[in-house]
Every structure is written in C-alpha cells, then in structure tokens.
Symmetry: C2
DNA sequence: CTGAAAGCGCTTACAG
DNA sequence: CTGAAAGCGCTTACAG
C-alpha cells in the first residue's frame, strides 16, 4: 500500500498523513492518533526509496569488509553490538564485501555516488589511511573504529591499546620475566603500532633493551600464532613469557609450545589480550589463559550511538570528543584491563 | 552528479544515457562506449533510491539476526561467503538485528512494506516455522538456509545433518562404544531434530536402545557444553564417547572432562561436528579433536548465487532443486564428512 | 490545522 | 538509433 491509497482510506490528504507519521507538530492530536493507529492496522510504511529520494536520507549505514580474512569472530561481536543499537532507530546496516584495499576505496565511491547509506563506519585504520581523505572528499559522513593520525573533523572510538599492552608487559616484568615475546598484528595497522609502542615503553621503563627478534607480526589466527611462536622457541635465548595479541594467536602459540615439549603456566608464561566472546571464554581453555579484555561488542553499540548522532546532523567533533573521553575513562576505571592473576612468575 | 547533469555533459538525452548504462541493445556502440567512459571519469552512478523507485529493485538482500546469540562465529563465516558472491553483482547485504522471534517477524513486515530489499535469506529454521508463511504472504522473495517441513515454492540449501551425525555415531559404534553422549542444538530447530534422528538411526541399526539421559540440548557455547557434559559424567553409567554438535560445545565438554580428572582421547572419545574456521582449526586444540566438517562459508556463497538467481526473476523451485542436489552430491563425494581418524576405540 | 502541487532522480512506454 | 514526458512514492515549501 502506498501513501495515496493509505491517505484516501483515512479521507485525509497525503500531506497530513505524511506529517502525522513524521511527527510534525502542526497536526491535530486526534488526527495523528487516527493515522498512527491506521498505519499499524494496514501495515503501512513509507517506501524507503521514495523517502530517500525526497529527503536524501535512507536509514542505513554502511560498513565494508575486506575479504574473508576480516570476517572473523571480532567482526560478528562488533556487528552484534552495532546492530543492537541501530535497531532501536530502525536503522539497518548495509554490508559490502570487497577483496582488496583498492576495491574498498571503490566501494565507498559507489556508496557515496549512489547514495545508498547515510554514513559509513571505517574500521581497522592504517597509519596514514587513504580512506579518511577519500570519505572527506566524497562528503560521506563516517565514524572511525580505531584511532588514526589523519587530521579531520570526524568521530572515532578506540580502546587504549598502548596502555593495555604496556600494563600487560609491565606485569610480566614484575613477575621477573626479561625475555618477553610479543605476537602482534600487522605492521602499519594503527592498533598494532600502538601496542608495539606500549610494549616498548614498558621495557624502556625498566631499562631493558627491546630485542626485535622477540616481536612478530601477522594475522590473528592460530596458524600465525603457531608459526611465530615456533620461531621464538628456536631462538638461542628463548622467551620465558609470551604476550599474544588475540585469543586465536594464543591458541596457536600454545600448540607450538606443546609441540616443543614445554608447558604453558609452568615453563613459560602466556598472556593474551582479547575481547569477550559469549560463546567461548579464555578461562575455558586448556591450560587456562590469562587475558586482558576489551569488549568489542560494547564498542559496536557505542559506535552505533555515534553514527546515529552523526546522521541526526550533529557535528562530528562532538562524537569524537565523547568517544575519546567516555571510552578512555572506562578504561581508566579498569573495565578494559583485568587483573592478570594467572600469569606465571619467572622461575 | 545526477543523470540530468551527466547527460548534458555528454550532449545526450537522459533516456539514451540511461539505456547505455543499463546495457539496452538499441544504443549505438560508439555512444555506449562514450557514455561508459564518461561515467567512469565523472564517477557517475545512478541514485539507488531513484532507481528503486523507478524499477522496484534496490540491489540489496536482507538478513535478520536475532540478538547477540545469533552473532557467533558461524554467522561471520556465512556472511563472508555470501558477501563474496554478492559483491560480484554489486548487491549489498542489509543486516537487521532484532531481539525476539516476534520482533523478527515484524522486521520482515517492515522490510517488505518499505521495499528495502529485493529478497531475504531465512536461516536457522524451526520445525513448522511461521516465517515461511509470513514471507509468502508478504510476497517477499526468500531463500532458506536450512531445511524446513513447510510447503511452498521456495529455494533452500542445507547440509545433510542426518547423515553427518549418523555416520559419526556409527563410527563410534564401530570403535566399540555403546554409551555415546550427544551434545545437540535446541529442540525444535530443524537441524537439531535431523541430527537427533541421525543419532537415533545409527543406534537403531545396531539394535542399541537410545538412552534419553545421554542426549542434551542447548546453545553451541562452551558454557553449555560444559554443563551438559558435567551432567553426563554424573550418570551412574557414564558415556565412553561424546558427540559434540559444535567446536564450541566440544571445548566446554573437554573442560568438564578435564575437571572430572579423566582424559579425552584416552578415557573418553570425543568427536565434534563443525564448520571450517580460517582462524582456528580443531587440529590445533589440546587435545586434538576429531571433527566432521561442512563449510558454512561455501554455503553462504551458494546461497548468494541462489538469491541472485531469484532476484533475476527465475523460478525459486529451480534454486531449490539445484540447491538440494548439488549440495547433497557434494556431501556424497565426501567433501563434507571427513574421516574421523582420531576417535578413540572403546577400551 | 489542512491540502494542492512541485520536485527528488531515475526508467520506460511512446513517438519519431 | 534517439528524445520528450509520464510516472514511481514520498516530502515540503507555499497557500489557505
């Protein structure tokens, strides 16, 4: 049913019905109630395309994923949080999949030119990320999940990766460890660089020289954790502790350690930083892992809030500020980094 | 830039440009090339809302997820496969999140009334699922991921859950096990019922009575696997083998077994049925799990193919048939069920 | 408080 | 092979 038909059933003009449905103040209360009731009864909903054409807003926000690799467990947690917030405003998520960084840029060009979404969420930023400049040029509003050095008037949300890893490293140092291996994400990704900085800072505070052979970069998969850990274990002076960037790489590292015939929690200490997954928890792994945490699901919900704000026409700088401070304070209150009770002292 | 502006740059009418871009045959070859080249150059793309209004097709397909629980690792794998196929046709995925089964029905009503998507993907069907009838009434085209008893002219895709579990159970029986615990999904979900039937059938073939105390139902989380397994281990005659419905529940079961002081792979046999996750593989767990497999990512891609076909106006029955047979034959060729090399014989 | 009508940016019969 | 114009279903100045 379209507006014309619906309005005629009510013996009202399209104008009045449209205004009643959109909550305009100049409609008489009785009329509004009658319209709202009838809309429910007949199941009338404005056609999104017509609405988009008339108003320029389509009630959907976009998010682009690069290939299969990006569709991991973190993604589904983030999407769950994001969706839970957006559903309250009946805003949908438009997911595009691409298979390269270049294709991702084209996806944004397409989304912008065809006016398919009201805003997009950028994630996994790189140092000096070309996407920021592109979206700015395209005038496609966006929020960044993660931090970036790029200048601009945009909102972003991030956890304090520097501090999380600095604390975890310090904790291992407190326990007496001096050779601490670090399984990090890919170089060039902002979060990985921040973590590297946090790792370095903790070592520096104790005057310990960073041994580059003890840092490894790669995907957060157990395969990569396995390979990198095997490399660490082949070193002349093998590490006495390992800091894994995710639960998946921790699993791979554990396997490498087991294969080498040594024991996690006895011969070598292992800490993993990761998010909270509802279907699996680190405590349930064998042997129990110590972890630091950040809830990527909560981040999704918060980003949803920010992007809705942006769509309402609020200045993006507001989002950035609230994002930055609210989140950081959550971290400071210790919601993000838990006590690392199970890490094992240097023997 | 809109069509009017773009057409005037080319000194052509909107009609001709539109036809050239849409691949209509009546446009002169030279004209078409000129238009296509200019579109790339200026970055012109038709406005999706206008296109949707004019044609009734919006180039997006919908998928609804119920709450956080449904956003698990299987979801991201499925979405990855689906997206990889849809991107080739520049069709996007519209994700809606809801928090109840009733809300899910409303989401379809909304999507249909507002004409937001060209089709939807239904997943995780229940026995006698009300969604099928609703979508049929709404005339919203759909493909079902999973099997359903509902009648109707719609396409669907499923793995052979009955046979996968029948085979796995038979395998354990071959190894001498007689008391086999089964960690299944929720009752009422079609896949769980099929698995239950497969389990029952394998036992029946050997004339073994099904002990209802050895079957448990719940979410595929390690928490649920843990709890159910604890229950099994408390039985007077505890099982000598366990069949876990997913890797997550297998992890929980392993933990319960460990807590009970017995050893997987020595005192008790464990098989898990699950999909292939790129970021973690069952071989990497401690101790190594035996698994049967089905690639949910491949299913996503195949469903993408089917839904695109549906959008092109092909009869849905074609999809159903091709879905049914192609997929089943893949299973028969052994792609889905792997040898269960590591299951341990009954001592 | 209500309505007639222009306009959003496309597609597609219809006419040439 | 090309174009002028109606129509898709809304919103929103403008007029009353």
């Amino acid at each position: 049913m379209n507006l014309k038909e619906f309005a005629s059933k009510l013996a009202l003009s399209q104008t009045t019905v449209s205004r009643a449905l959109s909550g305009y103040p100049e409609v008489k209360q009785a009329t509004r109630e009658r319209v709202l009731k009838a809309a429910l009864e007949y199941g009338y909903r404005p056609n999104t395309s017509a609405l988009g054409l008339a108003t320029g807003r389509v009630g959907a926000i976009g998010i682009v994923f690069r290939g299969g690799g990006q569709f991991g467990p973190h993604t589904s947690e983030f999407m769950g949080g994001l969706g839970s917030r957006l559903q309250q405003d009946e805003v949908d998520i438009l997911v595009s999949t691409v298979d390269s960084r270049e294709a991702e840029l084209n996806a944004y060009r397409r989304l912008a030119a065809s006016k398919r979404v009201d805003a997009v969420i950028l994630h996994s930023p790189f140092v000096d990320d070309p996407r920021i400049a592109l979206l700015t040029t395209l005038r496609l509003p966006f929020i960044v999940h993660g931090r970036t050095e790029a200048k601009g008037d945009f909102g972003w949300l991030d956890i304090d990766n520097f501090d999380a890893i600095r604390q975890a490293t310090s904790h291992l140092l407190d326990l007496g460890h001096r050779r601490i291996a670090f399984l990090n994400g890919h170089r060039g990704q902002v979060f990985a660089e921040h973590r590297q900085d946090g790792y370095r800072a903790a070592l520096q505070e104790r005057g310990i020289a960073l041994d580059p052979e003890l840092s490894g970069n790669g995907d957060f998969t157990d395969e990569m954790g396995f390979r990198l850990m095997q490399g660490f274990l082949k070193l002349e002076k093998r590490p006495t502790a390992v800091l894994a960037g995710s639960m998946m790489s921790a699993l791979g590292a554990m396997r490498a350690i087991r294969v080498a015939g040594i024991k996690v929690g006895e011969d070598i200490s292992l800490i993993a930083h990761d998010d909270v997954f509802p279907y699996i928890s680190p405590e349930n792994l064998v042997p129990t892992l110590s972890t630091t945490r950040s809830s990527i699901r909560a981040a999704g919900a918060r980003i949803g809030e920010m992007v809705l704000d942006l769509c309402r026409g609020h200045r993006p700088s507001t989002c950035a500020r609230s994002g930055r401070w609210n989140w950081s304070s959550a971290i400071r209150r210790g919601r993000s980094v838990r006590p690392l009770a199970r890490a094992v002292p240097f023997p």
